[in-house]
Amino acid sequence: MTKFIDKMNELTISRRNFIKASTAAAASLSLVGCGNSLTTTNAGQAAAQEGQWITAACWHNCGGRCLNKALVVDGIVIRQKTDDTHPDTPDYPQQRGCARGRSQRQQIFGADRLRYPMKRKNWNPGDGGKKELRGKDEWVRISWEEALDHVASELKRVKETYGNQSILAKSTGPALNAYGGAMTYWGCTSDGAWPKPQQFMNGNRSRGSNDRLDLRNSKLIVLWGSNPVWSSAGNPAYNFKQAKDAGAKFIVVDPFYSDTAQILADQWIPVRPGTDTALLLGMAHYMITNNLHDQDFLDKFCVGFDADHMPEGADPKENFKDYVLGTYDGTPKTPEWASEHCGTDPDVICSFAHEIAVTKPMTFTSSSAAARTSVGEQFCQAFLTVGWMTGNVGKPGASVCSNNRHNTQSYGGPTLVKAGGDKSPKSTNPIYKEATFPGPDPFKTDWQGIVIDEAWDAVINGEYTAGVRGKQSCDIRMLWNIGSGNTLNQNTDLMKGIEAFRKVEFVVTSAHFLTATAQYSDIVLPATTEWERVGGFLSGNPEMLIFYSQITEPMYEAKDDEWMYQEIGKRLGLDPAEFDPLSPKQKLFNKLAGCTVMNEDGSGFETLVTITAQDIAEMGVKGKPQEGRITYKEFKEKGIYQVPRSHGDQYVYIDYKDFIEDPEKNPLETESGKFQIHSQGLADTINAYGWNTLAPIAKYQYVTEGYEETFANFEKKEKSEYPLQLTTIHYARRSHSSLDNISWLREAFQNKLYIHPMDAQARGINKNDIVKVSSRHGAVIRPVYITERIMPGTLTLGQGAWAEVNDDSGICIAGATNVLNGGLPTGQGVQAYNTCIVQVEKYEGKLQKDYLWPKRIVAAQGGGK
Amino acid sequence: MGDMALLVFSFCMQAAIGMMFFMTLSHQLYKGKAFKGAAVTAAGLSIVGVLASLAHLGQPLHALNSLLNLGSSWLSREVLFSGLFMGVAVAYALVQWFKADASALSAGLRWIGSGVGLIAVFSMGKLYTTASVPVWQGINTFVDFYATTIAVGALLFLVLSLKELQDVDKKVFGLAVLAAVILQAAVAIPYAISLGLGGSAAQASAEILSGMSVMISLKWILVLGGAVVLLWPTLQKSIKAEGQSSSLIYASLGALICGQFIGRYVFYAGMVASTIGLT
């Protein structure tokens, strides 16, 4: 290793030498414990060279969106920084990036990048060869020509023999769409159960809260299952901190006393995963029996709360209040009743309910964590209902915001600045014309698509659920993973996924690294990252738009996914000029020219960018000069346009203000025009999906792998063989599975299983032990973090680790949580990541710290493995 | 073990310095004798020590830079005095072999060597006791270093000079060794107790040391036992090279070297530097 470093130090930083050196590195290092970055340049030497700061994409689906800049010297990035384009103030803050973004050069220039196309040694065209060797076969480097020929001929063969619906793809892309499309899978992975309840209960007002600056008017802010420090890095936690500093009290509800809670929370309220509904019902009971709910608000703006205010045609007995009081079912949903399920102390339930009922204005906000549960819709119903019971809607500081998460967390209101479209012809998958998110209409019968949780089962057993049509047969012969991420790792039921990958006739994957999906494929195609592409736009929070540029030439033989599609299309006799006619540059220009920004007076949008004829000529594209607010050069140089904000400015937005001011004139897009505490439409829709039943009002039902299933007999309190509840949450080390291979991040965040001392002691587990976590679906091993911060009986493990499944033991040593999360379709096609029951035991084997693991470099990529 | 180089350095250096000290003392006590073997061994040990110290460095070729901060660094001073001692010890050995008649020069070198050596041991003690390593702080480190210097130095000198010292009163050796190790033990007891009462770094050290209790017990058995065993032969009027008495001296030497070496190993093994959260 030392030798390598020395060698690197001797080299001048030229791209050619860099690539040579990293090839040598890959060959010589089975890379134990060495940095995974190849930018081991001599710092002094690098500093001596003039570099250029270029805006680099930080494009991951991390829940944040920040400005990332790279200091580029001769195609190599020697340093990064974040937003310094304007002075930083709380009202008009810089868009500062997180640990993940700051280590991205270790990703782009990683020694483990895929360099060349390769095929599995024992793969044969036509039948897949020795399919059981997928995941452990040797790799053989091949030319792009050979790779693309194979992919095209396999695609042709499968289509012609079995039909397009025998190809399973997460995203199809224009060429595959033009070739007849593919069976796809769909689901509400991120949003959990929110989409349908929002559609029916509040008229699709997803994610919204009041404006960011209005948060500071709140006296109380409830964060339900929100940990922006990890899952919405960038400014959201900072924005909340401004509200705290302005005097807001924070209550955080979560099974885990998170890193966000430790900054913001005046009070932490622990709740068992998947039992939030019970907690909310207990709170509702307290509010109703103490007459603390806002009856006027409920009467005027909601339907379904009590028998006197039911939507048309609904059974008056099916009202929320009587359900809570137990009028008809004989079970009052008292705080004591709730506590038995949710584990929250009854006194705490009362005081919490009291506090949200009497503190005004209050912001009641939930992410989707509690909705990423089996029948998570019941939580969504209960959350909105209890929020509305407090009447905190449509006023400064008052907001009931559902699904306020990801990069809009802590923001509300319209997008103030946005990019234009690329003007490519619209391309849809003929087999599944709807968006894969949030899923198909279950009442429609013109789609073929598999919910994520059933995908691997469908491959193996030839059957999937199709809404009102019930079970449909399918015959999947090919897995198509070009431009679609790390599906094997990130779909639920990973162990069954491996079985599915080993069953089909052909698997092709494009990837940056040898991810699990690539590892279990027959042909792997090296793809470029955004740093190697022509540039583009990134949006996140409503106040800014990022314009990133190309940082470096494609690494080795890596190619854009679009290019792969075009080349495959050509081989199938399709004309790229038809299915993807615009060049990447032209698409970029079209987006640029179409950028708009809200007027100063907030009345509409105006053109953002001034583009001159000379700019157009320099870009080598077709277009017309235009006048806008800033020049193209300035935009490119800064890499961002952010709308300046200040206290009391014209952009301040209060969600539902118009509805509250005049509900008759400004009805919601719900059936009744009001908030629907009772929605038969919602219940019918969920029932139509075919996996669960849901009541039209918030009711608590026991769910698959919920708390009650940790008991063999809940009434007698006899524990089952899976007595612990696991949540699999977004982890600070990575963005889903992206960036999990970065040594700096692996060192900083060691991916341990969080367990309470009581649960550890009961199992003889001590500090520094390795444990085995088993569910009905698989087992992983991990080091433990024994902490009082996690509710007893519950565990948490960050999702997205790069699966390393040992074929003999069946154990994943990386702790990929989808080994534990089964394929358990529920509700509207929700992935129930947070209802998972497990057992934990001490594991006697050893496990090296993740950051010391060898990189995934195979001989076919110039490595030694 | 990463600190093996330091262990070898400090142990050999102290042994050599101790030998030089007893050589000086013996020249005062027993006129007209030469201790060539001891002189060469002391020089050899000091060379081994200095070489070992170089092995500890990440940049041994730049070792001389270590003399750049004599103004404030006890490590600089230790290097200086250790280096000087080695020079003197080597010069002294050479003089014994090649210019045995230069007795004034010899005496001067002996006295300088002893003085410089004892200052070197003091510097060593200083540099360890001023580090942010609670387990090393306090009088114990000095006592330990000087006890090793005296005990191992005396014994090595004695063994290598048995022939020359055959017919003289040697009880000074036995008593010096015994006194040194008794003092060493007497200081160690309150020190061990205080360690457990210290800050978290000291307690972390205490925990490591309590895990090494077998080794530590062995050290004290060897050190104290060796010193007691030495009493009998050193109280004898004369000792034959192959007699029972000399066997006891050899045994004592073996015990003391092993015991003090183990002790020094424990000294480094128990090291926990103060850091954030561990003070």
């Binding site: 973090y785 996690i790 | 460095l57 830079n65």
Partner: protein, 192 residues
Amino acid sequence: MAQYGFYFDMTACGGCKTCQIACNDRNDLKPGVLFRKVKGFEGGKFPMPWIYYLSISCNHCQEPKCVEGCPTQAMHKLDNGIVAHDKEKCIGCRYCTWSCPYGHPQFIEETGRVNKCDMCKDLVEEGENPACVDSCTMRAIHWGDLEELRAIYGAEAVSDLPVLPNSSKTTPSVLIKPKSVALLKDFMLKED
């Protein structure tokens, strides 16, 4: 003599380690070596646990033990108070790793020398902030003239905490606004 220093607002720190990674990036550090690091300390009992994070680097002490003990003068104090390290002089004796009570300097096997935070002195000389300061997503790390920092934040700030060695040993140039739980003596180091 001027003295630059850091101010750290613990009440705002989420333990996201952006500063740590920004420092890794700035100094091109290999895993296993950290100049700025974020350490968590926790305690309490469910349902009242507590945790706090401390982001800390070299404290550029006014009486630095590393400088005093360094045999080569590789560790030295600049006129602006930065404790700098001259790698040309360093012989890799590691004594500074023993003498710093904060455990800051680190021996780098590959170079055979010690290395440490230099407060991004080249950036500072160009009028910029150290990399960690401008990276913080919670704006919890500030940098500047220590006396100015003290004038702005001093009322709420301390240089001593139960997890830190007594500041009288080295007079660190760091001010910390502690969470109240950071004053508790019964803490445990959080595992990463």
